[in-house]
Symmetry: C2
Subunit: 489 residues, 2 copies
């Protein structure tokens, strides 16, 4: 991608000078090679003569005459009164000359051997890009995010940034934010924890990755909801874990009946099972905890969307019911605020704090400070809760509209699950059609629905589609349902 007349914002580096060559010849050769090899690109401007004189410690005359020679050869151009730049059309002879040996890359080199972990990695499918008209899952209503307020907080935080804010610090993150979160989790999720246990992450993904590294060796068993979050499967596979899948019913994930598996980690979404939408019953929660305590299994509680509960008070987290400190709790702001923020948190049992600290240090030191400070102000000034309340209302209305439209246009063909929270739901397909066919046809019309079977590892689910409504406005819901109604019958 040659840029036209781009400014040379950066310095110009030249290979070590060989003393036996004439200085002018050397400079001509160096610049010519840089152009031929692509280090300097068509349209890119050269540093000024003054800068070259200083940087290369050559006489001004030497530089000027070298540039003149390259202009004569057609490699450089200059506009009077402006800078010198690399010609957009290079001399034809360039094409027939061989490139200087050192700069030649083999381009796509033969694959380098990977580690055992590297070999087990497999591609993770996120969601369709670019955006579709309707029904993308895990997508918040970004146009309703109070960006002006966020900008104000950001400007305020940066403007008043102390050198200690610029310096950063502890692997677990910005202490004021961790303190706010420990207070938030106490009242809103019934989780009792010290700020010392709260680790700021870039989201649930990182929380799970750190937990897997610290707790699971290759060959160890892990328990995983099936159907479940596809990236968790990929992470466990890369770790070389033996994945034992848990079935899911309308009370949530079902613990194994047989004892003695001694799995190292159990991944579950008790608040709102992903993707089926089931909320784990109290009875099931106690059953899961008993199982984990007996087996010595750590539980990874992915609490990805319980902030968006439409009715009643939020359910207490599994973490709050655990008497043996075996639950790792993970939450995220990537869905409650916006996905590119990449900010989340996890609550780590006291006994694991040191291991997480060391692992976080080695993996990336700590999360960037700026966004943490902005988010802290956003929470403390009450904007976060106000935004949640507003979004909860919006999402609840959107779900209602979706349900009404589906009833109107798809009665008997698509049966919508009455979810209590979140930004997506499930529609059970009653027509005998293949969900993959529907999804492919819908995508052609720019509508994004995900066959539930894509979240299955070993188990089977009835034919169903995951349907997002959080980031889909009223008009698009109407449009989207009409498109689905054409395809499902």
């Amino acid at each position: 991608m040659p840029m036209t007349r781009s400014r040379s914002t950066f310095e110009f580096a030249i290979s070590p000078r060989l003393s036996e060559e004439g200085r002018g010849d050397w400079l001509v050769e160096t610049i010519r090679s840089a152009i031929q090899s692509g280090k300097l690109r068509p349209g890119q401007s050269l540093p000024s003569t003054r800068e070259l004189t200083k940087g290369l410690r050559l006489a001004r005359g030497t530089i000027i005459s070298a540039i003149e020679r390259l202009k004569d050869e057609g490699y450089l151009k200059s506009i009077p009164g402006s800078k010198t730049f690399v010609a957009n059309v290079l001399p034809e002879k360039f094409l027939s000359r061989s490139l200087p040996p050192v700069a030649v890359h083999s381009g796509h080199s033969k694959p380098v051997a990977l580690s055992e972990y590297g070999k087990r990695l497999r591609p993770v499918r996120y969601y369709a890009q670019p955006r579709t008209i309707a029904f993308r899952v895990n997508l918040p209503a970004l146009d309703l995010f109070p960006i002006d307020l966020w900008t104000k907080m950001a400007a305020k935080k940066w403007r008043g940034a102390s050198t200690s804010l610029l310096l950063g610090g502890e692997p677990f993150g910005y202490l004021p934010l961790r303190t706010s979160l420990s207070s938030y989790l106490r009242t809103s999720r019934s989780i009792i924890c010290d700020p010392e246990q709260v680790l700021i992450t870039s989201g649930i993904q990182e929380a799970l990755d750190l937990s897997t590294r610290i707790l699971v060796s290759a060959g160890d068993s892990v328990l995983m909801e099936d159907p479940g979050y596809q990236v968790a499967f990929a992470g466990f596979e890369a770790a070389g874990a033996r994945i034992v899948s848990l079935s899911v019913d309308n009370e949530g994930a079902v613990p194994p009946t047989k004892a003695g598996l001694r799995a190292r980690l159990m991944y579950i979404t008790p608040g709102h099972q992903f993707p089926t939408g089931a909320t784990m019953s109290y009875r099931r929660r106690m059953q899961i905890l008993r199982y984990a305590h007996t087996e010595g299994t750590c539980i990874f509680e992915d609490d990805y969307d319980s902030e968006f509960r439409f009715e009643g008070s939020p359910l207490p987290a599994l973490h709050g019911l655990d008497s043996k400190a075996q639950v790792i709790f993970a939450g995220s702001f990537n869905k409650t605020l916006f996905p590119s923020l990449r900010l989340g948190y996890m609550v780590v049992p006291h006994g694991l704090v040191d291991a997480f600290k060391m692992c976080k240090s080695i993996s990336c030191r700590h999360h960037p400070w700026g966004d943490q400070a902005i988010l802290h102000a956003f929470i403390e000034e009450g904007h976060y809760v106000r935004h949640l309340r507003r979004m909860r209302k919006v999402y609840s209305e959107r779900l209602q509209l979706l349900a009404d439209e589906v009833r109107k246009h798809l009665e008997g063909a698509l049966e919508l699950l009455p979810v209590e929270a979140g930004m997506q739901t499930v529609g059970w397909l009653r027509t005998g059609q293949n969900p993959e066919d529907i999804a492919a046809l819908a995508l052609e019309e720019n509508v994004d629905v995900i066959p539930l079977s894509r979240y299955c590892y070993r188990r089977q689910v009835p034919p169903g589609l995951q349907i997002g409504f959080g980031g889909v406005d009223g008009k698009s819901i109407l449009q989207g349902v009409q498109i689905l109604a054409k395809l499902i019958s």
Copy 2:
């Protein structure tokens, strides 16, 4: 840490209601337990009666009388016209009552079993906190960072944020920034790469961690400069690698003489060896590359501070000399801008792009978007290069002052290495004193110098101290040298 009269910014969660209990009794018991167990803390305010009525779906009268009972018991207080809050001094009988069973945590639970990786983790020592008067290494001059300019860029980026900026995207990061970097690296470091090869990281630490995961299995050999960056040693140890240490002379790291080791990764700092300050000679670079090509070893080139080169043009990176695409290049903005930014980049050989993409996806999806967009504007508007130029001048002057002061006060006792770049140098101790003793005594006087031996893994170095000057102003340099002069003789 009880907060006094803190606002209850968040919702109040209550355990599943048992139908056989009287509703009022249940509410009293629930709130009392929440207070006793610490879920509600002294001074914390309760949601309003209206909110409780709505959230719990209880009659208003039931709620009011429950609150009155708890006030009578001394658990709650209220100020007329204001909210109800948890009493700061709780009823004494609370202390003698046992806590409700479910909420009791064992506190510091017995340690959970760790993975093989988890067991190999060890604490990483960063630098002394809080800040000292002088000589902390890897510390930029934070008071000279143009925070107003950064604030302006941040406000501009956030204010105009499109929904696609809020959405995020590719694991490798924000494409405009990667494109700028690929152009920067071409002209400034002689590195030819596509934006597709540029992965945005949180710094060199993350770049090394990803590389280690993808390339090194437990039991594999890695080559590592010794003395060298202590966190790299810790990362390789946690990975279970067999660390083969490379000696360092005044031309940089020395490749092994024997062939056949077939190490998977070689970590080096050719631009400015950390911590000895040696710049790798051209001859040594070619020798290292030949070794790596013969052995099939990937090179991790840590280019942590070559932007701060005081004289002449920047040296081309080892990456630019590599004809076989076996060099992974890593740079960072955490020292050129500010450490809490946590932003860096790596250039990945074409053959490894897919593996890095999958690994980054699983480990944390992608780097936060906001700071990437701000940095992109900062670079494109020329502020980055201007800041580098200014800092280069400042650091060069500080080094000069340090050298003058050391000559004046420590002649013959401490011999300063004439470094060409960076924010720190080495002083060789000529007095026969133990560097650890000097460092301990200096720290008591708030002066921070690091014995070089702390960076040694298996090898020995002559007695020396690493001395930072980047973040130390003139006055502090004078003070710091005077303190050292008292201790070194």
